[in-house]
Amino acid sequence: MGYTEEELAKDLENQEYKYGFVTDVEYDEVPIGLSVEVIRMLSEKKEEPQWMLDFRLNAFKVWQSMEEPDWAHVTFEKPDYQAIRYYSSPKGKKGAESWDDVDPEIKETMEKLGISLDEQKILQGVAVDFVMDSTSVATSFKTKLKEMGIIFCSFSEAVQEHPELVKKYMGTVVPVSDNYFAALNAAVFTDGSFCYIPKGVRCPVELSTYFRINKGGTGQFERTLVVCDEGGYASYLEGCTAPKRDENQLHAAVVELIAMENAEIKYSTVQNWYPGDKNGLGGVFNFVTKRGLCEKGAKISWTQVETGSAVTWKYPSCILKGDNSIGEFYSVAVTNNYQQADTGTKMIHLGKNTKSTIIAKGISTGRSQNSYRGLVQIHKSAENARNFTQCDSLLMTDECGAHTFPYIECKNSTAKIEHEATTSKIGEDQIFYCMQRGLSEEKAISLIVNGYCKEVLNKLPMEFAVEAQKLLAISIENSVG
C-alpha cells in the first residue's frame, strides 16, 4: 500500500490552519485587564449612553460575585481575566459609512477569508456584517433592507440608533446573571450584530456576520440580538476564524434570539476558530451562550458546524414558551488532535403542543474528546409536548473519546420523548467498499463522513453547506486510525 500509518499521522499533524494569518492594522485599545475604570473607558470610547454603562457596571458586579464553572467535560487552564485586553478596535474607522471607507488592509483580510462585500455578494442574497476583534467594520446591503423596515447593523450602532429596541430586549433571554461567561460578556462586550425584522416581513436575504479575532492578547466578546416580530422570518449565518497563536484566546459571546408569535428564525453557525496546534498549544476558548425564545407558533432552528476552537463549551437552546412553538437543533461537532468540545442544547418546553428536534453528530479523531450534553425539560404546563433526540458519535481513532450526557426532566405525563443514540467507528468495510470502486482512502472517508452529517448539512443554506463540507474534509483529512 502506498500510504503507511506513519505517513497518515504526519500528514494529519501538518494539516495547516488555513485562516492563520494576521492582518497588520493599527488599533485603538484600552489597557490590559478588567476593572470598573476599563469598563468606563470602553463605554466612553464607544460613546455609549448612561443606561448602557449602567448595564455593564451592574454586569461586572454580578460577574465578580460569581464562581467560574467547571462542570463541563473539558480540562484547560483557566484564563487569566486580568491578562486580557477587552477592547481593541481597528483604528480610524468606527463602523465605516460606506465600503470605500473601509481600511484596505481589512478589505484584504476579508478577501482572504473569501468574503467580498461587493455587488456580487448582494446578488447572491447575503448581507454581511464583519466583526474584527472588537468592532463591526462594515455592514453591507443596509439600505435595501431599510426599505423593508429591517434593521441589520452592528450592535454599537443599534445602541445609538435604536436604543428603545436594545433596551427592551437585551438580556431578556440570556440574563446578565445567567452564567459566568454571559455576565462577563455583558460587562465587556464590544460589538456584534443586531437585527430586527418587523411584523409580517420575511427577510429576503441571508443575514450574515463574520467574526474574526485578529490581535494577540485580546478576547472577543460579541453580542448578537435578533428580534423577529410577529409572522416575520430571518435566516442568519455566522462564521468565525482567528489567526494562529501560541496563547489561548478567549471568545465569550452571547446570542439572543426572540421569535414573536408565528415568527421564524434560522440561525446557522460555521465555527472555525483556531483549534491549536497538533500538540494542543494555543487555540481559542469558545465559551458561548446562545438562546432563543419562542412565542406562540414560533420556530427557532439552530444549525451549527463546529470544527475549530481548542475548547468549545456551548449549548444553543430554545425556550418554547408559546403554545405550538417549535425548537430545532442540528449540530455537527468535529474534534481533532487535542481539541475538546462539550456541546449540545437545551429544549425548555413550557407551552402546549410544543415540539423539539435534536440531531447531534459528533466526530472525534486524534486524541480529542467530544461530548454531547443536552437537556430536554418538559414543564407541567407543556401538554402534549414532543421531543425527538438523536445523537450519533463517530470515532476515527483509538485515542479519541465520545461522550453523551442526555438529561431529561419531564413533569407532564402527556409528553412524548424519544431518544436515540449510536456510537460507531468508521467502518473498515465501508472504506474498503468505496476503495474497491476506485476512491482513495481519503476520499472514501470524506464521503462517508459527509454522508454521516448529511441531515445536518442539509439544514444549512446552500452556499454555507458547501463551505461546511470543505471544512469537514479539511478537519478530518488523513485521520482514520
Binding site: 474497491q436 476512491l439 454522508g451
Partner: protein, 251 residues
C-alpha cells in the same frame, strides 16, 4: 486478462489459499464452485486487495501489471470490479453521487475528462434499465434500506456504470429469488463482451442456467482441483463435492 500463479494467502496465520492457479482470458466467463470454507470468497477479497489477508507467495498478473503491487483503488481503476456478497450500506451518500465520484476517479486515472452531469444522468438512465433498477433507488443512499435483492441488483448496476475489464461476482446469486436472479443474470449477460471477462463465485448450479460459463472450476482446500466445461456444474449438483474430495485426498 488475469493469470494467477501459485497463490498462497493466509489470515491470522491460517493458510486459506494454498497454491491457486487460474488463467482467465478476455471474452471468457469462469465459474468457481466449491464447498464451504474452500477459499472462494478469500480469493475474491485477495484479488480486490483486502488488507486482512497476507499473501505469502505467488503472483497475479492483471493486464500485464503485477496486481498484488497495486493499491485497492488502483486495482479498481485498472478495471477490476468486485460485486460484493454483502454490499455495505453508506448512509447519507446517494448512489448517484457515489458512482459519479467513483467514475470520475477512474476517468482521472485514465487521463480522461470528468463526465458532465448531463452525460452522467443519461448513463444512469441507460444502465439502470439493464437491471431494472428503479430510478428512485439510484438516488437513494448507497444500499441503505435496500432489500437483499435490490442490493445485488445495485452491485450489477454499479458494474454497468463503471464498465470493468474483469468482474468478480462473489455469490451474487445468494439470497435472490428466481425473478431477481433472472434480472441479475440478464444484466451480467448484457454487459458481457469480447473485451471483458467474468469470474463467478457460486455455491449453486442454478445461476449457471442463466449465465453460461465457458469453464467451471472446483476450488477445494485452497486450490483448484478440477476444471471442466459447463456440464461439470451439473455433475456437481447431482453428486455433491464428496467424490472430488475423495479424488483429491486419494492422490
Amino acid at each position: 486478462m488475469i493469470q494467477i500463479k501459485n497463490l498462497h494467502a493466509s489470515i491470522n496465520g491460517k493458510e486459506i489459499l494454498k497454491g491457486l492457479n487460474l488463467t482467465v482470458n478476455a471474452g471468457e466467463v469462469h465459474a468457481i464452485m466449491g464447498p464451504n470454507g474452500a477459499g472462494k470468497s478469500t480469493l475474491a477479497s485477495v484479488l480486490a486487495g483486502k488488507e486482512d489477508y497476507e499473501i505469502t507467495s505467488g503472483e497475479v498478473i492483471f493486464e500485464g501489471k503485477n496486481l498484488l503491487d497495486l493499491s485497492i483503488e488502483d486495482r479498481a481503476k485498472e478495471g477490476l470490479f468486485l460485486a460484493f456478497q454483502y454490499p455495505v450500506e453508506i448512509p447519507g451518500v446517494s448512489n448517484v453521487n457515489f458512482l459519479r465520484t467513483a467514475l470520475n476517479e477512474i476517468k482521472e486515472y485514465r487521463k480522461e475528462e470528468p463526465i458532465s452531469a448531463k452525460d452522467f444522468l443519461a448513463l444512469v438512465r441507460e444502465k439502470s434499465k439493464i437491471v431494472e433498477l428503479d430510478a428512485k433507488l439510484a438516488s437513494r443512499a448507497v444500499n441503505e434500506g435496500f432489500s437483499g435483492g435490490e442490493k445485488k441488483r445495485n452491485e450489477i448496476f454499479q458494474m454497468a456504470m463503471l464498465d470493468p475489464k474483469l468482474a468478480i461476482l462473489d455469490e451474487t446469486d445468494s439470497g435472490l429469488d428466481i425473478d431477481a436472479l433472472r434480472i441479475v443474470a440478464h444484466g451480467v449477460n448484457t454487459l458481457k463482451s469480447d473485451k471483458n471477462a467474468t469470474i463467478m463465485i457460486t455455491h449453486y448450479q442454478r445461476l449457471l442456467d442463466y449465465i453460461i460459463p465457458d469453464f467451471v472450476h472446483v476450488l477445494y482446500d485452497g486450490k483448484i482441483v478440477k476444471t471442466g466445461p459447463k456440464e461439470l456444474a451439473l455433475e456437481l449438483e447431482e453428486k455433491g463435492y464428496d467424490w472430488i474430495k475423495e479424488g483429491v485426498e486419494s492422490i
